[in-house]
Symmetry: C2
Subunit: 505 residues, 2 copies
């Protein structure tokens, strides 16, 4: 056994699938009494390069006793197994991890130095390869958070993320897209904008993310109604047939580094501007977009809390987009209260269907916001005069063409399913007669997440009244839905006072 530049002549080791799911962390297991651990000095938590044929993975070592592994085996976690495309008994070679030069760039950043383009390319490449442990990933995310990336660095990060991922080319010169800088429960406009725009005839191959810190992302919500894990080839077929799709970006491998970073951001409950801009714009370029509308809801408990933060973010979006040759428009929208009634994948999907099907009691706010955004996207087209987009979008929704297109997109993606309803529920009622003064977006998201959203699709919250609504004492304010009694109980427990989520005065 030698280092990776030499020829291995130590013990022959064979792959064994341990069946242990460590999510997106490659872990390998070795017997602590094995010859390789003794001869190579491998200890638990060591970072080890694992080579199987032409594939290489950097994994963290857990040493084990004789009960669960034979001596000449390398146990692989599910993620390591997948990355190596291993089969039981494959011959594996193990090496000390080569020194990761890019970690010294992260250290330098922590000490206040700027990243240059070369450095961020190296960092992002190593992340995409899975060479960073959770400790390294968390340090990188933390070092970039709190406004610590300037415009140059955000541009370099964006370009690096574009470089490491695949890029799609479409058979159209204009590819439009829309993106919402989340933080607003229930704001599921994408699923209404895409069918309107596609029905008009623009090409809109939409890839969405899953929830990062919210109870539902568009991909989670769309998944209630139709498959979203589309490979690139499948996405292409859907878009070529219907002019649009609503797919999960992660399945297409468009931004492998970003998918790894999102897990860390979620655990830290951090979603920093620099990574936000780089993540959004790199995914747009990779997805082949040319014209992108960015919706930025602003409100005291939304992700963007005020005009100052909104303008800062918009300026960075504009500056970076300009450099990478993307046309973008930004819209500041009301982020002071939830949109629609449902919060959580299935409940939000139900609201989307009501709007698309022009139901009488469909949430008006969700309809209005979707039409405004769809109108602005349509105005990217040279055939649509400024100021006329909204009218065209409204017509396409009202005459049922949007709903027909949505169904066709679902069919092309693999079928349409009706949303399910959760088994367990708890109704919260008004403590007094009065007016709803405010709803805390962050707290409502916390309660919905504790109830099980987004992993439990039907879990979440259904609002029976929104801000400025009048209620009688004991009138239902909102219902918490959960798929298990434990989660329902946990969500209820989180409501610490009668005005924790909704303030009635």
């Amino acid at each position: 056994m030698t280092n990776s530049n030499g020829n291995g002549n130590g013990p022959v080791l064979y792959a064994h699938r341990m069946g242990i799911d460590t999510y997106k962390q490659p872990i390998i297991f070795l017997r602590r009494d094995s010859q390789i651990c003794r001869s190579e000095g491998f200890e638990s938590m060591a970072r080890i390069q694992v080579v199987s044929g032409t594939r290489t993975v950097i994994a963290t070592l857990n040493t084990v006793g004789p009960e669960i592994l034979e001596e000449n085996r390398v146990g692989l976690s599910e993620f390591a197994w997948k990355l190596l495309e291993a089969r039981e008994g494959d011959v594996l070679r193990l090496f000390h991890q080569d020194h990761l030069e890019s970690l010294s760039y992260v250290r330098s950043k922590i000490f206040g130095h700027k990243f240059n383009e070369h450095q961020l390319q190296a960092v992002v490449r190593d992340i995409a390869r899975g060479s960073y442990s959770d400790i390294h990933l968390s340090s990188f995310v933390t070092a970039c958070s709190g406004g610590k990336l300037d415009t140059d660095e955000i541009l370099s990060l964006t370009q690096a993320m574009i470089t490491v991922g695949d890029k799609i080319n479409w058979p159209s010169k204009m590819i439009v897209d829309k993106h919402c800088v989340g933080g607003l429960p229930g704001n599921r406009t994408t699923m209404i904008v895409v069918p309107i725009v596609a029905a008009f005839g623009l090409m809109i191959p939409k890839t969405s993310s899953r929830a990062i810190t919210s109870p539902a992302g568009t991909a989670d919500t769309m998944e209630v109604l139709s498959p979203v894990k589309l490979r690139l080839s499948q996405m292409r077929k859907v878009v070529e047939k219907e002019g649009g799709c609503i797919a999960w970006g992660g399945a297409a491998d468009l931004s492998p580094a970003d998918d790894i970073l999102i897990r860390i951001e979620r655990a830290l409950n951090l979603d920093n501007e620099g990574q936000l801009v780089a993540s959004v714009l790199s995914k747009k370029v990779s997805a082949g977009s040319t014209h992108v509308l960015i919706d930025m809801p602003i409100g005291p408990t939304a992700k963007i809390r005020g005009m100052h933060a909104a303008e800062f973010l918009r300026d960075h979006f504009m500056a970076v987009a300009h450099e990478i040759g993307l046309t973008i428009e930004t819209v500041f929208s009301d982020g002071s209260k939830p949109v629609g009634r449902g919060i959580g994948p299935a409940l939000e999907a139900r609201d989307v269907l009501a709007v698309l099907q022009n139901e009488k009691d469909a949430p008006q706010d969700l309809r209005d916001r979707s039409l405004e955004l769809a109108g602005k996207v349509l105005e990217f087209s040279p055939d649509v005069a400024k100021g006329t987009g909204l009218g065209i979008a409204t017509e396409i929704l009202d005459n049922g063409k949007a709903w027909t297109k949505f169904l066709a997109i679902c069919e092309a993606q693999g079928g349409f399913f009706e949303p399910t309803i959760a088994k367990y529920k708890h109704v919260v009622t008004a403590p007094r007669k009065g007016k709803v003064l405010s709803i805390d977006n962050r707290r409502i998201a916390t309660v919905a997440k504790l109830a099980g959203a987004p992993h439990a699709k039907a879990a979440g919250i259904d609002l029976h009244v929104n801000v400025d609504g009048f209620v009688e004492a004991k009138q239902p304010l909102y219902t918490i839905y959960s798929e298990t009694p434990g989660e329902l109980d946990y969500a209820i427990k989180a409501i610490r006072s009668e005005d924790y989520v909704m303030k009635v005065v």
Copy 2:
């Protein structure tokens, strides 16, 4: 099964020792098809509170297939097993982790706000309890690095670290100590200072750390010669008998949060000033010290690179020490080149023995530095006039009393062992005739670590010449020692150019 404030009435689960070593990360394993995973919505990487009798641990979940675990079992990693003091078949209860308020303080710090005392108490308490995952720990360490803690925060961090650990009381009003702010290969003065000071009659219960980012810490080096994993009660017996000890601080549980943070700092190769001050001073207070001498080697490739950084660090040491009622003195010393000849636990131990035994060719620099420091520590005593300490220390070393005391301390700690010599070696020779202009402390540490130090005790580097020495062409410059051929090969490979470690001109 309910949350932690309710009564469990779900499936009964039994502890099972998996035999998997995940170092200081508590991990639990559950069958992904088990009732508890389905009913509680537990997914891989979830943070779960595990309760066994009166003991509680927050662990990360890895879900597993049916091959390696029965359905009604909770598999425990070695560290989780130890923290819970579990026995096979113990009944365990599992809960969703309670919201960790202290993580919001870390987030706030990342966004540029100052920690207050209450917040750092909460963070350190949660860390000491094992409630932070690697991702959270790394974020905290990163957020505090690069000079981001001010004096107030360092004081609060120090106090918090004192609060969570045990504290020792000694039967003497004056307890002296010395500490070196590492970064200088071979600078193993502690093992010479302690026996001199103890032989004089001052009480010096020394706890040292293992290497963080260096090839050897004092605890690693002392462990070559004598056991260092002493429990508090054992340390007390040694000190009461001999007036001093040289023990590993981690075994005494004096600073449980610091021991957890050190693993993260090592993985990130970060050793920030704030945590350095808090770590050193909290350990001194916990160890019962009243008077502490701090040695600060300064050099371009030492941990402290210049006078500015040294003064910054000294001022923080002084300010925090004053607030917590500790008397400290600081010494700036030459950190421009390695001390002694050996680098790595066994090779450094050999140098220490040569000095203690007054061997003719003992490294003069190690002897001089040790005597200077010992003299200053002796001057803490009201019986020793300023300026007379060095003479007294020299006499104690020269007349053999220090060596006798060292042997007595080793015997009291569990016996004295001779250092071993590594099996594999590689000699690096001078590329030309000339003078050694410089030695890169950081690179020499890297090569020694790749050779296996500190985990392989006999591994490391033996210098045959130091800075300013003259050499002939082909004359040996240094020898790399390793316990395995793989590590030797890896260390050799790291030497990228002929003047990578030592510059001969």
